[in-house]
């Protein structure tokens, strides 16, 4: 039992991202309101961003800016002292993507609301089958 517990504690970042991802997925599948679904989608994408950022992290490491890099007497560079910047950089792009998707999905929700005066999915389905 304690093995399992220590496994969870040691790798808690993965558990967190999986839980967040499942919350998002649940929102997208189970919710009836379109805006709630869109928010679920955003949570789903955020979970992956957290996953990426957490795999670049190192304990007791600092931001990857070279101290005294231009100085001839500068300290030697130890990779262990700096977190991996690449994963965070990648996520800047992914954040842009998720913001664009979120914004566009919201705009569509407005269009749907203007047309049908509702955002509840079951009511929409009813309206569509009537026509």
């Amino acid at each position: 039992m304690s093995d399992v517990l220590s496994l969870i504690v040691a790798k808690y970042n993965y558990w967190l991202y999986v839980i967040l991802m499942m919350i998002g997925l649940y929102g997208m599948i189970a919710k009836n309101n379109l805006v709630k679904k869109i928010v679920g989608m955003n949570i789903f994408q955020t979970a992956i961003i957290l996953f990426y950022v957490s795999i670049g992290y190192k304990t007791d490491a600092t931001i990857p800016i070279l101290k005294n890099a231009h100085d001839a007497h500068g300290a030697a560079i130890h990779a262990a002292d700096y977190i991996n910047p690449l994963t965070s950089c990648l996520m800047l792009t992914a954040i842009v993507v998720s913001v664009a998707t979120f914004g566009y999905a919201m705009a569509l929700a407005v269009r749907i609301y203007q047309r049908y005066q509702t955002l509840e999915e079951d009511e929409l389905r009813m309206r569509l089958s009537e026509e």
Binding site: M28, F44, V97, A100, T101, Y104, R111
Partner: protein, 493 residues
């Protein structure tokens, strides 16, 4: 010139931005700008194909950074072929679109052309790139622009279809992104060729296995393989016809290309077929996809929707061939990427011509169309024969390779599914032909908006493109042996 590789993607991208600017200055100019961008792209793609055939794989390093650190474009025979296909189809469709854009979205033509070129940029980038994360970003560019264009279609159902596509598309792309994350954890690299070298020999690693499952699952969702296909029919039916003409042949085919690229270049044959033994299960899945697509196509009343279910069916062909695990199957799958893109394009061009004149394309609306639009229907018949797989057209040859591959593996259920789906397609299309040819259309359109006005042939610009593409089906069929020997077999060696 060594910069052709970059020009393929950069030309449509830059012209898209300029076309966007010209919306405020002089909207009529955005069309020629966009067209010029795609023309440059087509020319560069052909140049690159010639170079690759002469000297082998090309590498283009962005800003001169060497591969594992910088982003590189890596073009081999498969890439080069798909690049020519994508840029060519996008270019031809743009020529044919001019009149339909005026008709369908006359108030926002400039913005439409901007988004269209961004979409093509995304597809070309996905095809050309040699970097896993770059691939994700370009998939998202492609998807975002296609969401936008789908919502421009049917006023009632377009936005809803687009929103449902967003939900599923985001799940697919996110799964792929997660898979790339696991690969990065294991190897510390994002370059495809580099990752392939680094994961060699780590067959037992659960990280690689997770990465593999997530990447492939994500791409399957994006390409609408059978259980994940629900978004496709609505999205492609309710989009404006100018867009369905280009998205139906290209989007799914480019995703199949990505799957083949991941299988061959990144994870490797040996890992998939000898370590994981996945061939059997996936070929069964593909068989189901073919049958399900065919059966659901039978139930449709709208011509456009019927064709989208045929796409679901064709995806099954390509996935089955690629996962057969032998050279014949893979040859069939790659040849079918080319052929299916051409066939679907020809079909949707014909549908585009019909929509231009009669607006609604429920199958019952098509009565007597042979007499009124003979050239359009000629193109439609050729494309339909190719989908069914009648010998001189190209559809026959890729099916032939797929069947040979399945026979070699002993996957007779796949052979049976191929034959049954060909029969279903024959039934479907002959039903359409019968209505178009034998039933008189005199009472079919009296209650439509423009009254009993005689329907005439589509504009010449649309007819020429439609005819050219339909004839290319026969050309591609006659030369399919050459294509296999000069492009596909050297690539698979």
């Amino acid at each position: 010139m060594e910069h052709y590789a970059a020009l393929i993607v950069v030309a449509p991208f830059i012209t898209a931005l300029f076309a966007g600017l010209f919306v405020w200055i002089e909207e009529r100019l955005s069309y020629p700008i966009v067209l010029a961008g795609l023309a440059v792209s087509v020319y560069s793609a052909i140049q690159v194909l010639i170079q690759v055939m002469a000297v082998g794989t090309l590498q283009y390093k962005f800003a001169g950074w060497p591969p594992p650190i910088g982003i590189e474009y890596r073009i081999d025979l498969l890439n080069a072929m798909v690049l020519c296909l994508v840029s060519g189809i996008a270019f031809l469709n743009l020529i044919a679109s001019y009149r339909s854009v005026q008709q369908e979205i006359s108030d926002r033509t400039g913005s439409y052309f901007t988004v269209y070129n961004l979409f093509v940029t995304g597809l070309l980038g996905v095809t050309i790139t040699g970097d896993l994360f770059n691939l994700y970003v370009l998939i998202e560019i492609t998807s975002l622009t296609s969401y936008a264009q789908i919502a421009l279609g049917d006023k009632d159902r377009g936005p809803l279809a687009s929103l449902n596509y967003i939900f599923i598309g985001v799940i697919g792309a996110s799964f792929y992104l997660l898979g790339v994350g696991y690969l990065y954890m294991y190897t510390g690299s994002l370059n495809m060729a580099d990752v392939a070298v680094l994961i060699k020999g780590s067959q037992g690693s659960s990280t690689v296995l997770t990465a593999f499952i997530l990447c492939i699952l994500g791409i399957w969702i994006k390409m609408a393989l059978f259980p994940f296909h629900v978004w496709l029919p609505n999205a492609y039916t309710y989009s404006p016809v100018i867009f369905s003409r280009v998205v139906a042949p290209l989007m799914t085919k480019v995703m199949v290309y990505v799957m083949i690229r991941l299988m061959i270049t990144v994870f490797g044959y040996d890992y998939i077929f000898n370590t994981l033994h996945l061939s059997e299960a996936v070929v069964w899945l593909a068989t189901l996809a073919i049958l399900a697509g065919g059966v659901m196509a039978l139930a449709q009343k709208n011509l456009k929707k019927m064709l989208t279910y045929i796409i679901v069916c064709e995806i099954g062909y390509m996935v089955g061939g690629a996962w057969m695990g032998n050279q014949l199957g893979m040859t069939g799958a790659i040849l079918h990427i080319l052929n299916d893109a051409l066939m679907t394009f020809a079909l949707f061009l014909a549908v585009g011509n019909m929509v231009y004149r009669i607006e609604k394309v429920d199958i019952t609306d098509l009565k007597g169309l042979f007499g009124k639009m003979p050239w359009t229907m000629g193109g439609f018949v050729l494309a339909a024969l190719s989908i069914i797989g009648v010998p001189p057209t190209c559809g026959f040859f890729s099916k032939w390779y797929l069947i040979l591959g399945a026979m070699e593996k002993g996957a007779y259920h796949f052979v049976a599914a191929l034959v049954i789906s060909s029969l279903i397609c024959a039934v479907l299309f002959f039903k359409v032909f019968e209505i178009c040819f034998f039933e008189s259309g005199s009472h079919g359109h009296e209650h439509s908006s423009h009254g009993p006005v005689a329907i005439e042939e589509a504009p010449v610009s649309m007819l020429i493109i439609s005819g050219l593409v339909s004839l290319s089906l026969i050309v591609a069929g006659v030369y399919s042996g050459t294509i296999v020997n000069t492009i596909i077999l050297p690539f698979l060696k």
